[in-house]
């Protein structure tokens, strides 16, 4: 199996399906354009790819996971639109393109985020080829991962920590919630759809926790060592903004060591699941060595 090719094909399928979901909406053109603009602004599609790769490990066809994979990308995209707003991070550019509110205005950007978040639940609820019991579980866990006990909670904690010196424990709370819970959900959703045993689900949940923290540490390292062209934003902005990061708390070498430790744990857990998780192992390699 050529893993790079499989993941590229998954990515293409996701990027075909996302606009199809938006085009099918009976809604004012402005909101559809604003939703589509940010959905099509590129990105690694790491969440849907994690879901589909986990599903692959359980030998299930892609179409079973596609609605939930797209829902995940919608929720991730809504969070970026709201994060970029003037009252939040006040970013004018995202991946080298003007942010949603710069193009559509602040009111429409807020509404486009609201629309993507809401529609994500509709997409899962309306998915074909999934039982109602599984849908209810997927929806409940998605809301928990994205809401006040997950991503939104992490964002609030992040805002509260701004400009303050925080400890490693608080930094991990922020990352586990702000980005970790949704990454973890991506793997769990794939496993649930793949009919994993509870034991496998537990192992994959722990795997995803390590992967999520590693993902964030790599982000912090790239902000110091990265290539501005490749990451699409200014390097050194974390230091400039006095942001608490792993390198700031652990030194750059310490952060690199922590990244390696998390990836080692992640890979060990993944082996214990007892399935052919070669796509997930490949994603581990990407997370550890990515340059953007």
């Amino acid at each position: 199996m050529n893993m790079e090719l499989v993941l590229r094909q998954y990515k293409e399928q996701i990027e075909q399906q996302l606009p199809a979901y938006i085009e099918s909406l009976q809604a004012p053109e402005t909101i559809k354009e604003a939703m589509l603009y940010s959905l099509q602004a590129g990105g690694k599609r790491i969440r849907p790819l994690l879901l589909l790769s986990t599903l692959h490990a359980f030998q299930k066809p892609v179409h079973i996971g596609m609605p939930t994979a797209c829902a995940l990308e919608m929720i991730h995209t809504y969070s970026l639109i709201h994060d970029d707003l003037p009252s939040m991070d006040n970013d004018d550019l995202r991946r080298g393109k003007p942010t949603n509110h710069k193009v559509f205005g602040e009111a429409n950007a807020i509404l486009a985020g609201d629309a993507l978040l809401t529609y994500a639940f509709q997409v899962v609820a309306d998915a074909e080829a999934i039982s109602s019991d599984v849908k209810v579980r997927l929806i409940s866990e998605l809301a928990k991962a994205a809401g006040p006990e997950g991503m939104v909670g992490g964002q609030v904690a992040d805002l509260e920590g701004e400009g303050k010196t925080i400890h490693l424990q608080q930094l991990e709370y922020i990352h586990r919630h702000k980005t970790g819970k949704l990454l973890q959900y991506s793997v769990r959703a794939g496993a649930i759809l793949g009919e994993a045993t509870e034991k496998q689900l537990t192992l994959l949940t722990a795997f995803a926790d390590h992967l999520g923290l590693a993902f964030q540490i790599r982000d912090d390292i790239l902000d110091i060592e990265g290539d501005e062209q490749k990451i699409g934003k200014k390097v050194g902005s974390d230091i400039e903004n006095h942001k608490s990061t792993y390198p700031a708390l652990l030194t750059l070498d310490g952060a690199k060591r922590k990244l390696r430790d998390h990836m080692k744990e992640a890979r060990t857990l993944l082996h214990e699941v007892g399935v052919d998780a070669s796509l997930l192992h490949y994603i581990c390699d990407i997370v550890e060595t990515r340059d953007h």
Copy 2:
């Protein structure tokens, strides 16, 4: 049956349950406070009351409808928080109290809205005593009513119509979506939980459409004839803001006539459902004559 008493008891139960849902969250205190602040800012609770009153017509116990009723109020509340933001209506007061962003800041207000919207779906998904098939239907319809094809779409259309002369048809599009779809959902959810036949569901959907438009017309009339003390905001603000309203398009008398016509239709449809819908009839009386 003392209908005023029954509705008051429903309202008390809703207002007990809402904070219980928030308190059970494992989340930063700030976000819980911000969510609770707006949930407890008062209001008529018309959406949950419509749901429970419809359920009552089908002789089902309250507890079956309570999670979805609370989810409705969470989604309504999130929409008010986001509507009040500086980039939207820029309101400092809501029901005589400072708006969410005035108390918690704009970033937390956006996040509190996001959190309420997300949590609403979790509350329905985790509801007890409802089958998974029914939950999936409730969630799908809730997302459709609240999202780009419903409330959010109406809000976008409303923003686009600002400062322009719009026709009655456009005004009805805005109201049918901005407020109508969620009101309609309230009745539909009660009917679905009450195991209504498809025929009854169709009648109740049409009933709720008329009720929703009537509700909005009454709102517009109150902005001209209302008592500032009772409605909790300045009278005449629609005219001041050059807002398109029913009285502006139809004259005040024409708007009153249209209100009566919609209520007559609503009541006729309600009779055809063939259940004891006395609570819903009582709500019709309130909507037609309310002074706040």
